[in-house]
């Protein structure tokens, strides 16, 4: 009897002792919602996953692989007649968005101070804007999704939303980000801050504003000025923050290239960067891709583009009499110093096993003779495999200045002061002495003839020249041509250095050693050791078509891949929706022409 009473007491004690909290066990091998959304450190940890949305080093240094000013040694599938269809299309991946939306919907724990939550909400919305900007650039109309959808949500099968709606949402996200992100600058240049959001907003608004202005078939020209005004305001916010300036610390001959070969980002100019870290083995393969005769696509600049680099006195090279027939070693002399930091010219040297050696353009690699060095570190040991240790800019101040200048020029409000602090500053960094303070008043005939015949505004022409030169190989060109509706420039044959005669050995970098000579069909009787002899006959020894010829047969510019036409049609301004995804949800439809 006594025992029963004790037992009864024990049971009731145990029953009272139970409550639901006690039964709640959190998983030990995974993070549930509460620890993430219930603390600032949880929000911060989650937010690091958003950064996967940003381009990585490979995306950056291969970003101009489809462009007008870069030759390549393989077929550009996208532009080859009949080669590209919806079956080859890609980029319809949405997993990053789900991750971001899950955060946006769940970031509502009232135990966390409001401004902390708003900061992280702003961060998430910044990345959502980045995600959707990429999608709109590539596909135009895309479905707008603002939450992490359930498996049975009918919205999974929605049609696409118009680009106007999606871009309004992108700009709303960025306006939220510029309001609520913490203003403090990040010295590492790897985190998103308020200035990064302003900078990105200027990029987005300039893209969409000019896209709508020049793609008149959309009938959205009326909305263009508002977007351009946003681009101006956003760029101004960055410029007035005082955190950034154009890097000139190493002088005109080296400052520009510092930005792309330094191990840590040049913090004065770089706003956001992909950070390399050798000790953590975070490296990339730019050296490899820009020096290997097999890896990568063999990207080289074309002569048409190199011609746009100004003389040091600020006059166009293409106004110099006889410029068409100037040989390489002479044409690169006394030009904008950014040219000698973009391609191999006289005095370029590299490091091999600790020894400095002079390097001329190498026709093992280059097809045109304009051999890129902008993204290549000097030490040759980094040329093989993924060993390049430079941090690469994702957004830098020079772009913001160019966004500002272009938007103002498009709006017709560009002043001399604007010119001086934007294009003038960038040209001064390249050592140019003339034309730095006043908006140009003469339309450049070369730019009009070779690039933009429909543009008559001298300032706009010069800003486009400047954008091409300053941002070359940083992944802007394709979508610049898209928004200017100049895709057909990508049909141009890749041209290279001027060759005055056959069997004439040339010293490209003026170091006293002859580097290259061109012949047809058979080598000359006397072959000079150390000189690379290249056949420019239309057919090679084995009877196949020779991709390298001279424009006038026995002299002229090198024409590379002249036998493979590239075709740009109206449809190419938008990529096709991948066929498997379109089949899965026919409501998506297909972009016109595909």
């Amino acid at each position: 009897m006594k025992n029963t009473a004790i037992l009864g007491a024990l049971i009731s004690f145990v029953l009272i002792g139970c409550n639901e909290d006690f039964l709640e066990e959190l998983p030990q091998d995974a993070v549930g919602a509460a620890p993430v959304f219930g603390s600032e450190s949880g929000l911060q940890l989650y937010s690091y996953s958003f950064y996967n949305v940003l381009p990585d080093a490979m995306d950056i240094f291969t970003g101009d692989y489809i462009s007008d000013y870069g030759s390549r040694r393989d077929i550009t599938l996208y532009l080859s007649p009949g080669a590209f269809s919806a079956n080859e299309s890609s980029g319809w991946s949405w997993s990053e968005l789900r991750n971001i939306n899950h955060f946006i919907v769940n970031n509502d724990d009232e135990d966390i101070p409001l401004e902390v939550r708003q900061h992280y909400q702003a961060l998430a919305r910044f990345f959502r804007a980045w995600f959707y900007f990429d999608k709109v650039k590539r596909f135009g109309d895309v479905p707008w999704i603002g939450e992490a959808l359930d498996v049975d949500d009918p919205a999974l099968y929605n049609a696409r939303d118009p680009r106007t709606l999606v871009m309004d949402s992108v700009i709303a996200d960025l306006n939220y980000a510029t309001t609520y992100l913490k203003p403090a600058p990040d010295p590492t240049r790897s985190l998103i801050t308020r200035n990064v959001a302003h900078a990105f907003l200027s990029r987005v608004a300039l893209f969409e504003g000019t896209f709508r202005k020049y793609h008149t078939n959309y009938g959205l020209e009326d909305t263009s000025d508002d977007l351009l005004a946003i681009a101006v305001t956003a760029a101004e916010a960055v410029m007035e923050s005082g955190h950034y300036q154009i890097h000139t610390g190493s002088g005109p001959a080296a400052s520009y290239r510092d930005l792309f070969v330094s191990e840590s980002p040049v913090a004065s100019e770089v706003i956001l960067a992909w950070i390399a870290n050798e000790s953590l083995s975070v490296m990339h393969a730019a050296n490899w891709h820009y020096t290997s005769s097999t890896t990568g696509i063999g990207f080289n600049l074309t002569r048409d583009f190199v011609n746009t680099y100004l003389n040091l006195d600020g006059t166009p090279f293409t106004n110099t009499p006889g410029w068409e027939t100037t040989v390489f070693s002479e044409e690169v002399r006394d030009r904008d110093r950014r040219l000698s930091q973009t391609i191999r010219t006289e005095g370029y040297s590299r490091i091999s096993g600790g020894t400095t050696i002079i390097m001329p353009p190498s026709f093992d690699y280059t097809n045109t003779g304009y051999h890129p060095i902008k993204l290549v570190q000097d030490d040759m040991i980094k040329d093989t495999w993924t060993l390049t240790t430079s941090s690469l800019p994702i957004i830098r101040y020079a772009e913001i200045l160019l966004n500002f200048a272009e938007a103002k020029a498009e709006l017709g409000t560009l002043t001399d002061a604007d010119w001086a602090k934007t294009v003038g500053t960038l040209r001064a960094r390249g050592g140019i002495t003339g034309g730095l303070n006043n908006v140009p008043i003469v339309a450049d005939s070369y730019l009009q003839e070779y690039y933009f015949p429909e543009i008559s505004d001298p300032a706009l022409l010069e800003i486009r020249r400047e954008r091409g030169i300053e941002l070359v190989m940083e992944g802007f060109r394709f979508y610049d041509l898209v928004r200017w509706k100049k895709g057909e420039l990508m049909e141009k044959v890749f041209n290279g250095i001027y060759v005055p005669a056959l069997n004439l050995p040339m010293d490209l970098n003026e170091d006293g050693d002859l580097d290259v000579a061109f012949y047809q069909n058979s080598l000359p009787n006397e072959v000079i050791p150390g000189v690379e002899y290249l056949n420019v006959a239309e057919t090679t020894e084995d009877g196949s078509v020779n991709p390298r010829i001279l424009s006038n047969g026995d002299h002229g510019e090198i024409l590379w891949f002249w036998n493979h036409p590239r075709v740009w049609e109206e449809k190419h301004y938008l990529y096709p929706i991948p066929e498997t995804d379109r089949l899965f949800n026919p409501a998506l439809g297909q972009n016109p022409g595909w």
Partner: protein
């Protein structure tokens, strides 16, 4: 059946969750025959026994949420393991042949989608003048049909043992009566340079009649092409699943063999042992498969992914004979019991 959920549009942004999504019906049969007897040979009994077993089953999907009957997912009425592919008519013989045939540009032979004599030629099954994969659904599979089944059928075994005058022998054969295999995109062991131009060439590719050339138009493999010839699972690629390259991977294998001699007690007692035996044994000593007519580089027992349940993603193990190989072993032994 606990399995992957129906494929969702990419905008879902994640893999479909797994769950109890399918109803599966498996029907089959099993047969075991046992026979044991003895007779006298040289005044000593020869005991023998034979045990044969054979089993077969077929599984059907009874329920799965796939109203469009997409071939990428299970669908109602599907036989588990079925393989879809084109019907290979042969190789194009001339440019005229290419022009007179249904439009086959969907099948990518080169970046420029240019067809040449020696490229595979597919039958226009639905007669629409275009070779393609349709909507990739049961109702519109394009020019594809069921070309085989990847699951083993008629699995069998045979155990034979006999003993006579202290000698004994045990044999165990095992095999599969019917099974198809389509070497997948990464199966370099099978495709060689048809997969990637820089692969090593399997020696059997160099035998006469394997690689196409103008002098050898009736070869097994088509014309050598560049990088796009991945023997991919993608319906648009040149070596996409098709009747010609379905491999018959039925096989029979001598899984185990034991031959031995039980030492007589009289002799064993002399060394003060209770019992003693001498034997020789072997595992995986012999096998035969129709696949061997093509290549012995691939073991028919070793083509499936080895750990597909623990690690569902093909990233870890794609099969295609890339598993740890099946080892042969020979054992020689003396066993003495004191």
């Amino acid at each position: 059946m606990f399995t992957t959920g129906p494929t969702l549009p990419a905008v879902f942004g994640a893999d479909p969750p797994r769950g109890n999504y399918a109803d599966l019906e498996t029907r089959g049969w099993e047969l075991v025959l046992n026979w044991g007897d003895n007779f006298s040979v040289d005044n000593k009994f020869l005991n023998y026994s034979i045990r044969l077993n054979i089993a077969d089953n077929k599984s059907k999907i009874l329920k799965y949420n796939n109203p469009e009957y997409r071939l990428t997912d299970y669908y109602e009425g599907q036989t588990v393991g079925e393989m879809w592919g084109y019907v290979t008519e042969g190789f194009f013989t001339s440019m005229d042949d290419i022009e007179n045939h249904a439009d086959q540009t969907f099948i990518r032979q080169s970046d420029g989608r240019i067809l040449l004599p020696g490229d595979v030629k597919f039958r226009d099954l639905n007669g629409d003048g275009v070779i393609n994969a349709g909507d990739n659904t049961l109702d519109n599979p394009g020019d594809r049909q069921i070309i085989g089944n990847s699951l083993p059928r008629y699995t069998y075994g045979a155990q034979i043992s006999a003993d006579w005058n202290n000698f004994f022998i045990n044999l165990f054969f095992q095999g599969v009566g019917k099974q198809d295999w389509y070497p997948s995109a990464g199966a370099s062991i099978f495709w060689g340079q048809y997969n990637r131009t820089y692969n090593t060439i399997p020696s059997w590719h160099l035998e006469p009649g394997i690689i196409w050339s103008e002098e050898n138009p009736d070869s097994y493999f088509p014309r050598y092409r560049g990088h796009n010839r991945l023997g991919s699972d993608v319906p648009g690629s040149a070596l996409a699943p098709q009747t010609k390259y379905v491999q018959n991977v039925a096989y029979v294998r001598l899984k185990n063999l034991q031959i031995g001699y039980n030492v007589p007690h009289t002799f064993a007692n002399k060394i003060e042992a209770k019992a003693a035996r001498i034997f020789i044994g072997g595992e995986n000593l012999w096998s035969w498969s129709p696949l061997y007519k093509r290549t012995r580089d691939v073991d028919p027992e070793n083509i499936r992914r080895s750990d597909s349940i623990v690690r569902p993603s093909a990233t870890y193990n794609a099969g295609d004979a890339y598993n740890y190989p099946i080892l042969g072993a020979v054992t020689v032994g003396i066993s003495v019991t004191f």
